[in-house]
Symmetry: C2
Subunit: 340 residues, 2 copies
Amino acid sequence: MKKLTLKDVAKELGVSTATISNAFNRPDQLSAVKRAEILDACKKIGYTGPNRAAQILRKGQSNIVALVLADSLDYMVTDPVASTFIQGVSRVLRENQKHLLLYAGDSESIADVVDFVDGFICYGAPRNPGLSQQLNQQSKPVVTVDFNLEGRPAINIDNEQASYEIAKAALSKGDHVAILGLRLIDSPSTCRIYNSPLLDAESSITHRRLDGYSQALKELDIKVDSDWIWNLPENAGVYAIQAAKEVLYSQPRPNVILCMSDIIALELLQCAMSMGIDVPGELKITGFDGIEEASRTRPYLATVCQSSVEKGMQAARLLLSGENQSMSLPYEIKLGETLG
Amino acid sequence: MKKLTLKDVAKELGVSTATISNAFNRPDQLSAVKRAEILDACKKIGYTGPNRAAQILRKGQSNIVALVLADSLDYMVTDPVASTFIQGVSRVLRENQKHLLLYAGDSESIADVVDFVDGFICYGAPRNPGLSQQLNQQSKPVVTVDFNLEGRPAINIDNEQASYEIAKAALSKGDHVAILGLRLIDSPSTCRIYNSPLLDAESSITHRRLDGYSQALKELDIKVDSDWIWNLPENAGVYAIQAAKEVLYSQPRPNVILCMSDIIALELLQCAMSMGIDVPGELKITGFDGIEEASRTRPYLATVCQSSVEKGMQAARLLLSGENQSMSLPYEIKLGETLG
DNA sequence: TTAAAAAGCTAAATCGTTTAACTTTTTCGA
DNA sequence: TCGAAAAAGTTAAACGATTTAGCTTTTTAA
């Protein structure tokens, strides 16, 4: 029992294939009566509608959007920030009857999908830098989130300003400060930066955050040597724990630690608590993101709240709208108990 | 600047389109020399390979696998069990150069994708029962996980036996027992079952778990009235908290509570602790799944450990292999401190 | 030397639609 | 009643590949 095609149906009903196609796709091209007639007949004989594969080829449109994730999927679905972002994207896509193709950022190439996908949402700078290039060279629309691709619309919060503000709220003259950063340099594990060259500083949001911190530090005349900046290769607990231990056992111990994500900050907080360090008395901590868990700890975390769901939704909307305009989303500084 | 096609390239190189197609797809059909020559030339003039959309139509194969999730994506990516499952699937697909289309189980129809997708992995019984039907009626391969679809290969652990074992480990003669169940009946919120008719009991794994519990209870001559069985519509914290409160405030309070997931059990545990109930002294608790968090609490949870990643990987492998053989995965009973 | 087999390549059919251009029919105001 | 414009349908050419059958040419083997 072969699958029915337009042709079969056309023969059966004694009309042209075009008319049937129109019945499905362009109601204005034929009388309502005929249309109803055709649709009825199709249902009766079991034709469920135009073959999608053929449609994709012919129309050059698939209703599939690829979501390119910075890291491996393994990691992405466990990170609360990333996964709520995915939720946002998926929600809007579903509302618009689009489908979501998940694409890990450590993939080799987008060549496999670029021909049939309608566009790309790129969340964070792909691990594999070749991907950025490929994305930029092809002609399908791309929306970037939390990083920038030349000439493509981006969705971001003002990371520099936000970091500046949270740092400003945390810092006082004479503080001894450390920074737990994310993806600032190219290293496979947690380590201090020392004098390593910074990574693709142009497009990275964490570099913007570093800029924000720096500005605040400068205004208060605080010097933070790069020995006191840690780099985590990924926003994951394992790396955070290591950094937390290192920084807390360092001499002299900092009394303010600025963390580039809540995940990092929370691990740091927990580590500090278990060492009997008084937060915020002996140590102030700031995070970034505003994940739910951050408001459930005691003391609860001072952080920069941004809505990941909103980001995802806006990214999807922007892609579907086809506009080429970048967009800055709001954020909110939340002064938590970790600052006293 | 139009995109190059096989035809363009063929004209350029003075060979037939078939030869070029063969150079890309069937190396055995032409001499190695010629092949290298063609591939080189393609690279030079900027032809990146056959158009995928056309390939999909012609070959009837897309290298895209749809993952149909029981619930909405919103929920799926936050549930640790579901998200690690997705990881497993994605890992194997990536190894095999397949792509992952994420499909929420509350969707209306798979008609939009069935024409171009290579197959389906269905994780849990779709919320929308029509989907199950549609899945079964179409001819592309389907692998089901944690539920059954007639005639389709399934991946499962032996839920009945596992539940029986964990219950047996928890129970003693004379216990007063409650069960916090999942998707046993059709209700939009947490509630006791009373005498509501059980939902699609055939294919549901939670009904198997109930069977397992029942067997253990029967052997110990313990009677559990359906008033003492709660139903949660989804495996999410909000529903679990409500159920936990209800059951803990019920009179007489049970001294053993069997939970059909770790998420539920953990919320229950936390709730009990905050009420000052001694676990396991006054109350024994069992979970199901073996999520990481369950081993980090104090007391840590007695549960049935199963590997979600493994499930995902096996599901993907099974689908790709094309075999029609169901598969039972191992599990492990973990006696935790919540049983004393 | 030559028939048979193998290798290398091509022409043409096909996958199942969509859509621009065209023909025929209907409508409707003057 | 006429003629132009609008409406309803049809035709046929794409869309960009894959693949079968067949045609040359080259190699093998007796």
